[in-house]
Symmetry: C2
Subunit: 229 residues, 2 copies
DNA sequence: TGATTGTTGATTGTCAACAATATGCAATAA
DNA sequence: TTATTGCATATTGTTGACAATCAACAATCA
């Protein structure tokens, strides 16, 4: 019995199911842009492409539908869900509230390992900013926030937060490369982390919520500029 | 073409699917206590009982699993999820945060119809309290909070809130009939609504969050008294 | 007697087939 | 020419069958 690896092939086989794997694969395709909002998912083609029968695929559809990433129309098929400006605004508001809770809780506990990790991410954010590497900055930005929320130690909170982050990905894609976005955002991360380290729960919550709502305003302004209607 | 009723039989048939109906039925069974935390769901028996084949039932399982109400063990079956005190505490914290956001937004908008509805519910709560009718009080309590959150007008917020309310139902059942619980809770509802009507967003948010966290403390204290573990 | 092996039956996981529905295109009528 | 009807095809919804896995029990061994 091989127990030297993190997870043995046997244990992995006992844990993984086709619906689970298909769910993960579809989610990946949605998040990385292979599947776009509004795209229709053809069961037969997709089942053939993934090398499974339609049953597990349909199970995966139901999971992703409940996760808010797909929508089903009976007898007409399943589509990647589209999110408009109004719903995006709702998501941002809720997300800001969840982040504020996380910052408040994190400022109260301040686990050294998490703080160190966040500080490292801040450094990497500064690097990406110095190199005007928008893609890298964006990815690190997400990582910073996710790490912060996870470090609060409330798994229900983390799960909901991630759920919303995935959903907001369905909002029309925006250009992360605009240099004007980068500077403001970097300063804010530093300030939020400093407040957390200082143990100022209330100020940290306010700062991160303000930061999130600023992001919302910027994103919605951009979306409005691209499509005035 | 019959369009006089809210939804014609044809439209209903076009909308409703077996997986959707089964999902709703299982959820009802979980929420009304027909299915208890830890119960194992036997596919064959349940499919026969509901008069469907196992395919739609499995689809329903995936949806409810994603909703946090069921958990699957591959090759061993599906179980109603159990929630312990730690997770319950997490859920309460997040719920309180969401309710605070709702109260803040509601105090800013104060839609007359929603306010009237909440005031009516408050009256009904007082009736139930006067009659020491714990079950009715509990149901109205849930209704009051749900109405308040929904009235904030953020559908993402409402959906997440409802998701958490359903999940908290998996926590061990407690006696709602204890008279000591009733008085405090009624006063708080009145105070929260008054602050909302007064348009004091910040105070309303603080009051409702305090209320929610008080509920958390009471529920956890009771759970601890029942099972010191 | 306790541990191990073998067998059986129940259940879960997946697939393929059939029924039902929607869509698109061609033929027909006005 | 436009609108309507009919037909064929593709796709979705559901079912039943088969394979794989697990748990329980009986038989055997040390």
């Amino acid at each position: 019995m091989d127990t030297t690896s993190p997870e043995s092939p046997i244990a992995m086989l006992q844990r993984l199911s086709l619906p689970g794997l298909v769910t993960a694969e579809l989610e990946r395709m949605i998040l990385d842009g292979s599947l776009l909002p509004g795209d229709k998912l053809n069961e037969m083609a997709l089942a053939e492409r993934l090398g499974v029968s339609r049953g597990p695929l349909r199970e995966a559809f139901r999971a992703l539908e409940e996760a808010g990433l797909l929508r089903q129309e009976k007898n007409r098929g399943v589509f990647v869900r589209e999110i408009g400006a109004e719903e995006a605004a709702e998501i941002f508001d809720v997300r800001a509230s969840l982040e504020a809770l996380a910052a408040r809780q994190l400022a109260a506990t301040r686990p050294p390992a998490a703080i160190a990790h966040l500080q490292q991410l801040l450094g990497e954010l500064a690097d990406a900013h110095a190199q005007a590497d928008g893609d890298r900055y964006h990815a690190l930005n997400l990582k910073f926030h996710d790490t912060l929320v996870a470090a609060a130690g409330n798994r229900t909170l983390s799960a909901l937060y991630r759920r919303l982050v995935k959903q907001i990905g369905l909002f029309r894609r925006l250009n992360h490369r605009d240099p004007a976005v980068l500077g403001t955002s970097l300063d804010e991360h530093g300030r939020i982390l400093a407040l957390i380290i200082a143990g100022d729960s209330a100020a940290a919550a306010v700062a991160i919520e303000r930061h999130a709502l600023d992001s919302k305003a910027r994103m919605l302004a951009r979306a409005h500029a691209s499509h005035p209607a």
